[in-house]
Amino acid sequence: MKTLNFVFATALVAAAPMAPVIAQENATASSQAEPKVSLKSDVMAIITSTDETGNQTTSLEEPKEYTPGTKLSFGMNYSNSGTEAATNVTGTNPLNAAVRLAPDADPALLVSVDGGNTFGTLDRLSVPTENEGTRAATHGDVTHVRWTIASIAPGESGRIGFPVIIR
């Protein structure tokens, strides 16, 4: 099936309490520096192919199916059409119970295994067990993923994504 994208706040307004100027979509006359960060989330299929020499390459393609075991990339397309850099960009992505973080996700990725209360790299997290002990957290335990981009310069755009597998 096709994906449906809902993008909120595509025309970003400088935060009201702190920014004295109310930005407008076509306020071209304004010389006020303003970031215009837009986001569009997507879901792509991660396709791994092997060439004649045995080299494996992965590519992102429009998913043809969403079936259990399918490997997807949950992604965010961002762009800054403003005139100032957006900094400390942090995305928090609760994982739907239908997917789990893929095992080849970046180990440096900040994740939560407790519903978003605490974040850390997976190797530092643990989850409670039935007999009141704890065990090391695994990819299947991840409830939230958090990614960061230090700065998005004016005019810059890109995509950030992480791999998941449909349960």
Partner: protein, 387 residues
């Protein structure tokens, strides 16, 4: 500028262990589940925190149709060990487990075939779902299809094969069972249903993907929503041979010292039944020997199930072994003499074994006129190979 970042780990090996930690949703999340992915993004401009932006993406879990068929062995509906069938076995039962590895409920159309069938000795008589797991067809078992198989459900399917009683030892055949996915609750007894097919296009609803593999067996292809497994069977028959030998025990002149076959001589017959078949015992062995008119039966000399030694085509029964039988027709001791015919039975003769049936006669007329008696040996259950 444009950049793309995929937050992939450089090393994936360590994380493979994590695969097993997924909750027990064995074959996956149910088709039709709507998955919404929501991302909240915070950022700053000039050190000032900006409003949170939210973006979402929604997709629907498609239907993954996968069927698995596994041969689990011949069940003991009839006598015999797995893989081995006997000639005349009408209910050789081959058991398969069929599992719905789809993420949705389906029906299964069941078809069996004999891709290898030496001399067409085997025939399929029935394919049924053994819902009550008793190994035999009974009320409540469905024939040729399985209805409403839930995700991850496994059912036992039995293919009943009849083996001709003309089947020879070491003849082989193969039994394939194929299960093909049909839309749930569309199949009816004796009727047809709606076969599940791969969706032609990608829609916003539930699409269907056929994801099973190709096992290489008959009527199975890659991603066709069906699976096949194969059982191998071999006929194991008794191969019965009979040797009848005679030896002069005594004569009126020489007694037992170098006796000659002169009138009045006592002659001992030894009928040896041997089984050189494929492992199946020869059973229900009946012996019938019509004596020629030139000899008289010696009352009380029948011995059954004796040890036998066979050398150079001559069988010798060891009369110190086995058991005696009276000549009485009506008793149940397995041997009798009636109207010029000696008859009786032998115990089952196992593979590579022989048993003897012996009796004595006395020669009446001139030696030159003596002729051999005529023996027939039969097995009433046809569990052998004709010689």
């Amino acid at each position: 500028m444009t950049r793309s970042t995929q937050l992939l780990g450089a090393v994936s090996a360590f994380a493979l262990i994590a695969m097993s930690s997924a909750p027990a949703m064995a074959e996956g999340i149910a088709a039709g589940t709507v998955v919404t992915n929501t991302v909240e993004v915070d950022y700053q401009v000039g050190g000032v925190v900006q409003d949170t932006i939210e973006a979402t993406n929604t997709f629907t879990i498609d239907r993954r149709v996968s069927v698995d068929v596994e041969y689990v062995g011949a069940t003991g509906v009839d006598a015999g060990t797995p893989f081995e069938v006997a000639p005349g076995q009408t209910t050789a039962a081959f058991a398969f487990d069929v599992t719905n590895f789809s993420n949705a409920a389906i029906d299964l159309d069941l078809n069996a075939a004999l891709p290898v069938n030496t001399n067409s000795r085997a025939s399929i008589t029935q394919v049924f779902v053994d819902n009550d797991n008793d190994g035999t067809f009974s009320a409540g078992d469905t024939v040729d299809f399985a209805s409403d198989m839930a995700a991850d459900e496994t059912r036992r399917v039995i293919v009943v094969v009849s083996v001709a009683n003309t089947a020879l030892d070491a003849e082989t055949f193969q039994v394939d069972l194929n299960a093909n996915a049909f839309e749930v609750n569309t199949m009816t007894a004796g009727g047809t249903g709606t076969e599940i097919e791969e969706s032609a296009s990608d829609t916003t609803g539930i699409d269907t993907a056929l994801v099973d593999g190709d096992t290489g067996f008959s009527f199975d292809a890659d991603r066709d929503g069906s699976d096949t497994d194969r059982a191998f069977a071999e006929v194991s028959a008794a191969n019965v041979s009979v040797i009848k030998s005679s030896v002069v025990i005594s004569d009126p002149v020489n007694n037992t010292t170098n006796p000659k076959a002169i009138p009045g001589a006592v002659i001992r017959y030894c009928i040896a039944v041997s089984n050189s078949g494929g492992g199946a015992p020869a059973t229900n062995i009946a012996i019938s020997d019509a004596l020629p008119g030139e000899v008289d039966f010696n009352t009380g000399t029948i011995r059954r199930n004796t040890d036998v030694s066979i050398a150079a085509g001559v069988a010798t029964c060891d009369i110190t072994t086995g058991t005696t039988a009276t000549d009485d027709v009506v008793d149940a001791d397995g041997g009798q003499f009636d109207s010029g015919v000696v008859s009786g039975s032998l115990n089952n003769v196992g593979f590579d074994e022989s048993l003897g049936f012996t009796f004595d006669v006395t020669s009446i007329p001139a030696v030159d006129d003596r002729t051999d008696s005529s023996t027939t040996v039969s097995e009433t259950d046809d569990n052998d190979t004709p010689d």
